[in-house]
C-alpha cells in the first residue's frame, strides 16, 4: 500500500505522539523526532517527505532549521507549527521558503488538507 511520508520535529513528546496517531488515521506514515539535530542525523536530504516543524525548540529552533533545509537544496516542503502566537507567522513562513504556518492546537483536517495540497506530495511515497 502506498503511504505518504510525513516527518514531525517537536521537542514535546506528547505532540509528536498525538500527531503521529492522528495523521496515521489519515493514512500517513509518520516518523517523529525530538530535535532538528536528531532529524538531520537520521534523515538524509534526498529522502522525500514533508516536514512538520515546531517553531520554539531549544537548540536549533524552527527558523534556524528551515534555513538549513533551504540551504541544502533538498526542496523538502516544511510546514511550521507553533505554540506561540505569531501575528505575521504565515508571511514569515512563506518568506523563508516554508509552505505553511499553523497555530497550535492544529486541527487535523486543516493540516491534512495543507499536506495533500502540496505539489509533489504524491511523489513522497514509500516504496
Amino acid at each position: 500500500m502506498e503511504m505518504k511520508k510525513v516527518y514531525v520535529v517537536d521537542d514535546d513528546e506528547s505532540v509528536c505522539r498525538a500527531l503521529k496517531i492522528l495523521l496515521g488515521t489519515f493514512d500517513f506514515q509518520v516518523e517523529t523526532f525530538n530535535s532538528s539535530r536528531n532529524f538531520f542525523d537520521t534523515v538524509s536530504a534526498d529522502t522525500p517527505g514533508c516536514l512538520l516543524l515546531d517553531v520554539n525548540m531549544p537548540g536549533l529552533d524552527g527558523w534556524a532549521t528551515q534555513k538549513i533545509i533551504l540551504a541544502s537544496g533538498s526542496g523538502r516542503p516544511v510546514i511550521f507549527i507553533s505554540a506561540v502566537r505569531q501575528a505575521d507567522g504565515v508571511a514569515r513562513a512563506l518568506e523563508v521558503g516554508a509552505v505553511g504556518f499553523l497555530q497550535k492546537p492544529v486541527d487535523g483536517q486543516t493540516l491534512v488538507d495543507l499536506i495533500d495540497g502540496l505539489p509533489g506530495i504524491s511523489q513522497a511515497v514509500l516504496e
Binding site: 492522528l22 488515521t25 489519515f26 506561540v84 492546537p105 492544529v106 487535523g108
Partner: protein
C-alpha cells in the same frame, strides 16, 4: 612714717638709723616692685587672654558668616521669637534681606503658604526647651518653594535659663529632588519588572499548556476518525473533548493577547550613562553586601538606540545575579562593569563577578524560562533579559571566568543616527 622716725633721731646714731631705714626702704621698694610686676603680669595675662578671646570671637563670627548653612539667632525673652542675627547663607537660602528679618518675629518668615502645623510644632518644641529638628517644605521671600532641614537649639545662660535660640537651616532641595527622582525611577522599574515578570510567567505557562492541549485535540480527532460510523456515543464524547479543548485554547489565546510584550520604545542612549544611572538605583544593595563596584567604561563609546527602562532591567538583572553569586563567598567582593566597542557596529557590555561561577551543566539552560524563578524585587529572569537584548538587535550570553566567577555579556548595535 619714715620721715618722722628720721626727724627724732640724735645725730650720733644717724648713720646706723639711716642704714636700717635704707634697708627697710629698699625692702619695701623691692616688695612694691614685685607686687607691681605681678600686677603687670596679671594685666598682661588678662590682656593676652582678652586678645585671644577677641580673636576667637572674631574667628567664630567670621566662621558663622562664612558657613554654607543658614545660621540665625532668636531672642527668647518675649513671647515673640525675634531674630537678632542671621548669616549671609541664611539670607541666600530664604531670599530675605537684613531689613526683612532682624528684629522681626521668626515665624513671620515662613509666609502664609507655610504649613501651620509645622510652625506650631516648632513653637511647641522650643517652648518646652527641647531641640527642634525636621525637614520641611519652605517658601522663599518670592514665594519659591524649597526643601530645607531645620534644627533649632536653645541657648542657656549660667542659670540654665533659655535666653536665645540658635537655628541652622540647610537647603536640601537638590538632594530631595535627586532622591525623589531615584525613588520614581525605582518605582517605575519595579512596576515594569512586575508586569514583565507576570507577562513572562503567563507566556511560559501558556506555551507549556498549549502542548498537551494540542495533543488532546489530535488524540480526540484521531479517535473520532477511528470510530467513524461506529459507536456514535463515543463519537459524541470525543466531540465534547474536542470542544472543551478548544475552549481551553481560547482562554490561553485571550491571556496571551492581554499580556503581550511591549515593543521597545527606542531612543538614542549613552550606554555608560545608563549604566551609571542604573547603578545608583542598586547601590544600597551593593554597599549592604559589602561589595565593591569597579567601572571600566570605555570613554568614546558611540551611542546606541534602545528602550531605557528595558535596558535598565537587563543591567539590574545581571548585577543582581552577580551579587547573589558572590553572596556565598565573603572573600569575593569585586563586581566589574565594562563597556567597549567590539567592532564598528556593536557595543559590548560585560558584568563580571568573582562569585561561585556557573556549573557546566547549567550553562545551556541558564536563559530558559523555568531555570530560575527568584522573586527578587529588582531582577528579572535571564530569559526576559535575553528577549529584551535580542529585541534590541543584540545577543546576551554568559561564560565562566578563567579565575573565579562568571561574566555575563551582551551586545548592542551602534546607533545609525548621529547626534
Amino acid at each position: 612714717m619714715i620721715k618722722k622716725s628720721v626727724g627724732k633721731v640724735k645725730p650720733g646714731k644717724k648713720s646706723l638709723l639711716n642704714k636700717i631705714t635704707r634697708q627697710s626702704l629698699e625692702d619695701q621698694v623691692r616688695q612694691k616692685t614685685d607686687e607691681l610686676n605681678v600686677k603687670q603680669g596679671q594685666l598682661q595675662l588678662g590682656a593676652d587672654r582678652e586678645k585671644i578671646a577677641e580673636e576667637q570671637i572674631h574667628i567664630r563670627t567670621k566662621a558663622m558668616e562664612a558657613a554654607a548653612d543658614g545660621i540665625f539667632i532668636i531672642e527668647a525673652r518675649n513671647q515673640a521669637f525675634l531674630v537678632v542675627y542671621a548669616n549671609p547663607s541664611f539670607y541666600k537660602i530664604t531670599g530675605y534681606m537684613k531689613g526683612d528679618i532682624i528684629g522681626k518675629d521668626y515665624f513671620l518668615l515662613y509666609g502664609p503658604d507655610f504649613d501651620q502645623r509645622v510652625s506650631h510644632e516648632i513653637r511647641k518644641t522650643l517652648e518646652q526647651g527641647k531641640i527642634f529638628y525636621g525637614e520641611m517644605l519652605s517658601f522663599k521671600k518670592n514665594g519659591e518653594k524649597f526643601w530645607c532641614f531645620l534644627r533649632i537649639s536653645p541657648v542657656r545662660d549660667e542659670n540654665g535659663i533659655v535666653t536665645h535660640y540658635v537655628g541652622i537651616k540647610t537647603d536640601t532641595t537638590l538632594i530631595k529632588q535627586r532622591d525623589m527622582e531615584i525613588a520614581e525611577q525605582r518605582e517605575e522599574l519595579l512596576h515594569v519588572t512586575r508586569v514583565g515578570k507576570l507577562a513572562e510567567f503567563v507566556s511560559s505557562l501558556a506555551h507549556e499548556i498549549s502542548q498537551p492541549l494540542t495533543a488532546i485535540l489530535s488524540y480526540a480527532q484521531a479517535g473520532q476518525r477511528l470510530l467513524v460510523d461506529r459507536e456514535p456515543q463515543l463519537h459524541e464524547i470525543l466531540q465534547f473533548i474536542i470542544s472543551d479543548d478548544q475552549r481551553a485554547c481560547e482562554v490561553i489565546r485571550r491571556l496571551r493577547t492581554l499580556l503581550k510584550k511591549t515593543k521597545p520604545s527606542l531612543e538614542p542612549l549613552d550606554i555608560n550613562i545608563l549604566i551609571r544611572d542604573t547603578v545608583l538605583l542598586i547601590m544600597p544593595h551593593i554597599t549592604a553586601r559589602n561589595k565593591v563596584l569597579v567601572f571600566n567604561l570605555a570613554e568614546d563609546i558611540p551611542l546606541t538606540e534602545g528602550d531605557r527602562i528595558q535596558l535598565q532591567q537587563v543591567i539590574l538583572n545581571l548585577i543582581s545575579n552577580s551579587l547573589e553569586a558572590m553572596d556565598e563567598r565573603s572573600d569575593s567582593r569585586q563586581l566589574t562593569l565594562r563597556t567597549f566597542l567590539q567592532d564598528a557596529n556593536s557595543i559590548m557590555v560585560e558584568v563580571t563577578d568573582s562569585g561561585c561561577g556557573i556549573p557546566e551543566e547549567s550553562l545551556s539552560k541558564l536563559f530558559s524560562h523555568f531555570f530560575t524563578s527568584k522573586l527578587d524585587g529588582l531582577g528579572m529572569g535571564l530569559s526576559i533579559s535575553r528577549s529584551i537584548v535580542e529585541a534590541h538587535g543584540g545577543l546576551l550570553d554568559a561564560r565562566n571566568n578563567s579565575g573565579p566567577g562568571a561574566t555575563f555579556y551582551f551586545t548592542l548595535p551602534v546607533s545609525g543616527k548621529d547626534l
